[in-house]
């Protein structure tokens, strides 16, 4: 009896751990999908998810070899497929954000949010885009107007870099109670964020809460 209960406990704990990683990945994926700008790369989580995927793949293979019931195999396979989709989609959304805002990302502190591989990808993409615009447009323009980043030599700042719209509204869900939260700089708009409630707010104002994990985007 005692041994069986401890086995059950161990199993439950393992299941809970597995569930949380997939849950975490789902959360990271949802946040990334809804946020207009790129978020911090979840390196540890992705590494764990990949390990679990490999384990699942091995299990499925083993089951197939041992002739375990087809239904069980396909349930495992489905679980595996879903996790794989989450992982791929997560990485894909990030790549697409990099494709869109590569110059902005590489010129701001967002750069540190990318994984090593993503940084290499962003660098390469920027070079390719630069070359493309250079040979098709910029080289044909008069001197003083040939910069990719500035409209002309008289612009003081880079005024031709596409940036994400941080003003956009997002749906978000609080995890715990945050309390009275200031939405703007002046303090005119204050909202009381209670636990487990849905809000539609400007991304810009809750950016900090998303980054610290106090609020989830949906």
């Amino acid at each position: 009896m005692a041994s069986s209960s401890s086995w059950e406990e161990g199993d439950a704990a393992a299941a809970a751990a597995a569930a949380t990683d997939v849950e975490l990945l789902k959360r990271a994926w949802r946040n990334e999908k809804a946020a207009p700008e790129i978020l911090r790369f979840e390196a540890a989580l992705v590494a764990r998810a990949r390990e679990q995927i490999q384990l699942l793949e091995e299990t499925v293979e083993e089951f197939m070899e041992n002739g375990v019931d087809d239904l069980v195999v396909s349930l495992y396979q489905m679980d595996l497929d879903r996790t794989l989709f989450l992982l791929r989609s997560y990485l894909r959304i990030r790549l697409q954000k990099i494709e869109k805002y590569m110059i902005h990302i590489s010129k701001s502190n967002l750069w540190n949010r990318l994984s090593e591989q993503e940084q290499r990808f962003a660098k390469r993409c920027t070079e390719i885009m630069e070359k493309h615009l250079e040979q098709s447009v910029l080289s044909k323009l008069p001197y003083g107007y040939q910069s990719m980043l500035k409209q002309s030599i008289s612009s003081e700042e880079d005024d031709m870099v596409p940036e994400p719209q941080l003003d956009t509204f997002v749906f978000c869900k609080t995890k715990g109670a945050v309390g009275a939260f200031q939405l703007d700089d002046i303090g005119d708009e204050i909202v009381d964020l209670v636990a487990d409630d849905l809000y539609v707010l400007r991304y810009k104002s809750i950016k900090g809460l998303v980054e610290s994990g106090q609020i989830d985007l949906v």
Binding site: L84, L133, Y145, Q151
Partner: protein, 197 residues
């Protein structure tokens, strides 16, 4: 009117369905770049005129100054339009790598100019090298999976293919029950379709 051609170029882009491309309009494109250079010549000659009169270029506010400003602004506007045209097309082109695959069909390729073709190839090579660094193919699984297996109909003679640990022969019009991940690559190439009863 200054800048009209350039705005037409963008209207062309805007009237096109999202995610689609119109043929590269090299005619208008070249005319706009020519317009840019004409603006520049006039701009330079106005500046020279101001300088010849021994006036300070920073503070002079005569008709030549305002003429020069108009040419400068028209030039930057044209530049923005040209860049927007090229950039937005490039965005559509890079989305083809995800939607169509590494090889573009003839009808799309005809719409690209030389630099755009090159751009597509280098960009898709960048995606590939990212995927091989990660050892994970990101171009499959574009929609959330439902059933791990799907019924497919083969649309073209593909021949003997090795899937997992066994090989099957995919002949035209045959029906198969395959793993979704295996079938997806063929579906995106247009060699198979999902068979729905």
């Amino acid at each position: 009117m200054y800048g009209r051609r350039a705005s037409q170029l963008l209207k062309e882009l805007g009237s096109c369905e999202a995610g689609q491309l119109t043929p590269f309009d090299s005619d208008s494109f070249d005319q706009v770049t020519k317009e840019c250079n004409k603006h520049n010549l006039q701009l330079q000659s106005l500046i020279r005129k101001i300088e010849d009169q021994n006036l300070d270029i920073q503070t002079t506010r005569n008709e030549d100054h305002f003429g020069a400003v108009i040419h400068h602004l028209s030039l930057t506007r044209n530049k923005r339009c040209l860049m927007a045209y090229m950039y937005n097309r490039a965005e559509v082109i890079q989305s083809f790598r995800w939607k169509v695959g590494p090889v573009l069909p003839q009808e799309i390729q005809e719409k690209l100019n030389y630099s755009e073709e090159e751009y597509f190839k280098s960009h898709s090579a960048a995606i590939e090298s990212y995927m091989s660094e990660l050892d994970l193919d990101l171009t499959v699984d574009m929609v959330p999976p439902k059933d791990p297996y799907i019924r497919v109909r083969v649309l073209d003679d593909i021949g003997e293919v090795c899937l997992g640990d066994h090989s099957i022969s995919l002949t035209k019009h045959s029906l198969h029950f395959l793993r979704r991940t295996d079938a997806e690559q063929f579906i995106s190439q247009g060699l198979m379709e999902e068979f729905l009863e």
